[in-house]
Amino acid sequence: MAFHPRYARQLLQWGEEKQQRIESGVVLVAGLGGLGALVGQLLARAGVGKLYLLDDGYVDWPDLNRQLLYAEEDVGSSKLMLACDRLFRINSTTEIVPLSGRLDESFRPPDDATLVADCLDNYRSRFLLERAISKKNYLVHAGVQGEEGQVLTLQKGASQTLAAIFSGVQQPAGEIPVTGSAAAVVAGLMSNELLAVLGGEPKLLNRCLVISLSDFHISFLDV
């Protein structure tokens, strides 16, 4: 099978079979902030077949330290519309589908989105998203705070739920500190895992990768 030359370097790394799996993959990216803006970009660059994007926010100045799809002239504009435009310009062969509206109790992911990237910024939305996912589908969760973060893969129906694992945790009051480099590192690790899931070999299934940029430390927490 002939692949587009844009994939030449990654094909050398992971080969044709994984590239084929990625190109037939469908991913819902929920949240287009510090994590989602880079995750969406890396998935589009890798050649994921179809990306559903979900975010009802608008670009604000405090976003610009870490939300790598947006620039100064975007302040006040819809993240969803900007992300659709930018990702299409990065890879026009990836189908980009915006999902408008809020993530609430009535939200249902599209049927063909068998992999969901939780790039959200609060637990309530995360638990709503998880509840809406169909059985057997995969959820890759990530969170970042300060210079720390985590990435974890769960399979609906087979793994513990995120809501059970994080039971009792409440959203911190006020603005959450986040550095640009921490968001980018966690988003990069999350993208790596999303591509591993698409390739049929998740590395973080029921295994939380915990990252501390503060002292360049990585550890695993089995869940």
Partner: protein, 93 residues
Amino acid sequence: MLQVQFYSLLRLLLKQEKLELPAVAEETVEQLLSRVQQQIATPFLQKLIDCDGQLHAGTIILINRQNIHHLDGLQSRVLDGDVIAFFPPGAGG
């Protein structure tokens, strides 16, 4: 033995990733925490439990992968061989 694991900001605060302690019969998570505090120079209990003895909402405690909220909370028993993990997850995105 009990294996006690600290993650993220707790690991940084305590400058310690793991601690092994002998199991004590009938011990609860709350009692284990007091014992851990005696072993570690850095005061940390106030980061986990408020003055009313309630668990702060920023850290999860897992016994053998299970959140203690689904057991008996801080009164959950820990048994020989258990792995007890303390993890304050990152909330933002």
